[in-house]
């Protein structure tokens, strides 16, 4: 082995490469027996417990803001009957994957990263490797899968809570017609919108899990290193998720024709 080559940006490239390698590793190990069912269930429960309440609390005002914004907009152009339709579309297709992503990265990912990081500096990960057990298979795979599953479920919850929040604020505060709001639900939104929303959530969960695990397994050393790693994990995940969201949305809008067109 020679010393690694250096040029500007080499470090960032190397990190990206290693993170990608971990992603491939996790995918491969996910199909290797024995599957760590117990750890998986525990992790699901853990991720749910740290994310579910904040997600619900965030999605209510989020849905409300969208509903209010669209409500006033539709009134200006005289299309009040489409308020429900537009806000459902906005919430399901965009808002709910984003809210899910923020919470999975901010609450779930940071907890996973801190957990793995503290195990790493206590040499638990090393000990596990020396005992002939792959930490990727034993620890990382269940966590990433848990993040993915919980992300999909949370996405559903955010959609429901968001739409309900939107309904409440539109009907109570903006004097919207309850019937019109409900009746126009399916005027713009269609089933593929729900699919893309869930697919996005699945991918976001995967990315959040991988980034958290990668940063957690490679802290800079010492307790401060773990703190920094958590911080970086959250920031990196946010950047990645928003970018991936942009890409997925672009593809989706190109591939799936809008309803009625």
């Amino acid at each position: 082995m020679s010393s690694p080559t250096t040029f500007p940006g080499a470090g960032a490239l190397r990190e990206t490469g290693r993170m990608f390698a971990l992603g491939v590793d996790v995918t491969r190990n996910a199909f290797r027996r024995p599957f760590q069912l117990r750890e998986f269930i525990q992790q699901c429960w853990f991720v749910v417990s740290v994310t579910v309440l904040p997600t619900a609390l965030v999605s209510i005002p989020f849905g409300a803001v969208i509903a209010l914004q669209i409500g006033s907009l539709t009134r200006q152009i005289g299309a009040q009957s489409f308020t429900g339709a537009a806000s459902v579309l906005a919430i399901i297709q965009q808002a709910s994957p984003i809210v899910t992503a923020l919470l999975i990265a901010g609450a779930g990912g940071s907890a996973i990263c801190a957990d793995l990081g503290s195990r790493k500096i206590r040499e638990e990960i090393d000990a596990m490797e020396v005992l002939g057990v792959s930490p990727v298979q034993r620890l990382v795979v269940p966590r990433v899968l848990a993040a993915m599953l919980v992300s999909v479920l949370l996405n559903g919850m955010v959609s429901v809570v968001g739409v309900m929040g939107g309904y409440f604020f539109n009907v109570i505060l903006q004097d919207g017609t309850p019937g019109a709001y409900l009746a126009s639900f399916s005027a713009l939104a269609q089933l593929p919108d729900l699919w893309i929303s869930e697919i996005k959530a699945l991918i976001f969960g995967f990315i959040a899990g991988i980034v958290a695990a990668y940063r957690g397994l490679n802290p800079a050393g010492g307790p401060k290193g773990v703190g920094d790693a958590v911080n970086q994990a959250v920031v990196i995940t946010f950047l990645l998720l928003f970018f991936v969201n942009f890409v997925l949305t672009t593809i989706y809008l190109q591939v799936v024709p809008a309803k009625g067109s």
């Binding site: 010393s3 195990r119 040499e123 000990a127 490797e129 020396v130 005992l131 002939g132 057990v133």
Partner: protein
């Protein structure tokens, strides 16, 4: 019997900083070896390299014909099942109690029933004196207990190579003595190759068959215990006696000015922190607890050392010969006071300060 570990020309650096270079030594199968060295000389890094946790830049580590530095991940996991490693702080899994920690390797790698697992785990827990603490979490017990639990976990798969990272740190002298005895007893029972990394002089003097020392990014020496224990090498002398006077400083190396100042202080009557008497010299080795089988390593090592004795420094030769019984002296055709080939030993070995530098390869 334990397996042989051959380390050849190993070099490890972190970025620009070299930790050690060109380390060459062989851990003889089934024998107990100790690696000494001041803090921060990369002893733990060496240990982690041996189990493949860190990848050295150059060199080979050969175990059972496999080069650990360059083998595939899959192969590495297979080889690691031969190892039992005791980490500095025990490295227990914080979320499991002691019983589950010790049972972990059994549950992962064997198809034993829960009853068998229980029997083996309790046996190992008793071995390290932790009966009754099975239900405790690692966070609830003292550092010494964590260390002993870590040892129990390392032993549970009957490893062929046992690596101990500072088994004595954080333990009182009495517990350290018990732990040393435990390691020797283990060696007599399962004949595993053992490497202990430490800076405890008592452990270094009484436990190992072979002794080595790392200093200034190099392996100063590695060989039969008598060689290091009788060495004139300044750094070894300073380390064994635990005094300030010598090449080892507070930071790893010492400059000439500090050295001169210290020498002046010493001459002015200021103690340099060393014990009254020079503690170098060959002391009797620990033996297995009566009732256990004799260590196979002792006989093998005797044959091995006697076959190379003429290459060792004279002081070491004397120490080795003096430790033989009259019967053995007759068997190997040597006598106390005169080495086997004293006359043929080149005179230069007698006067050069370090006739035995980094010659671990053949031992």
């Amino acid at each position: 019997m334990g397996v042989e570990v051959v380390v050849d020309g190993l070099t490890k650096s972190f970025g620009k900083q070299t930790i050690w270079r060109d380390v060459t030594l062989t851990l003889p199968p089934g024998e107990v070896s100790v690696m000494l060295g001041p803090s921060g000389t990369g002893k733990s890094v060496f240990l982690k390299s041996l189990v493949g946790l860190l990848k050295p830049e150059r060199g080979r580590i050969t175990i059972n014909g496999t080069d650990l530095v360059r083998c595939s991940e899959h192969k590495l996991y297979e080889i690691r099942k031969l190892f039992g490693v005791l980490f500095q702080d025990g490295a227990l899994f914080g979320s499991m109690n002691l019983f589950d920690n010790v049972a972990f390797p059994l549950r992962e790698h064997t198809r034993k029933t829960e009853a068998e697992v229980r029997r083996i785990v309790l046996e190992k827990m008793e071995m390290v004196g932790l009966v009754g603490a099975e239900k405790k979490l690692p966070g609830e017990i003292s550092g010494g207990m964590r260390k002993r639990a870590g040892l129990a976990r390392a032993l549970v798969l009957d490893p062929e190579i046992i690596l101990c990272d500072e088994p004595d740190s954080g333990l009182d002298p009495v517990r350290t003595a018990y732990l040393s005895q435990l390691l020797i007893d283990l060696n007599s029972q399962i004949d595993a190759t053992i490497l202990i990394v430490t800076h405890n002089i008592t452990v270094a003097r009484t436990v190992p068959d072979n002794l080595g020392m790392l200093f200034r990014r190099e392996l100063v020496m590695f060989g039969p215990r008598e060689v290091l224990l009788t060495s004139d090498e300044p750094v070894v002398e300073q380390f064994l006696n635990g005094r300030r006077l010598g090449p080892i400083g507070m930071s790893e190396e010492k400059d000439q000015a500090t050295m001169a100042a210290e020498l002046a202080h010493k001459e002015a009557g200021h103690s340099d922190g060393s014990p009254d008497a020079d503690v170098r010299g060959v002391v009797p080795q620990l033996e297995p607890t009566p009732g256990l089988p004799p260590r196979g390593a002792v006989r093998r090592r005797k044959d091995r050392v006697m076959s190379i004795i003429h290459t060792l420094p004279p002081d070491a030769q004397q120490g080795i010969i003096a430790s033989l019984t009259p019967d053995e002296q007759r068997h190997y055709q040597v006598s106390a006071g005169v080495g086997p080939d004293t006359a043929t030993v080149p005179d230069t070995t007698r006067h050069t300060p370090s006739p035995w530098p980094r010659q671990g390869g053949v031992l």
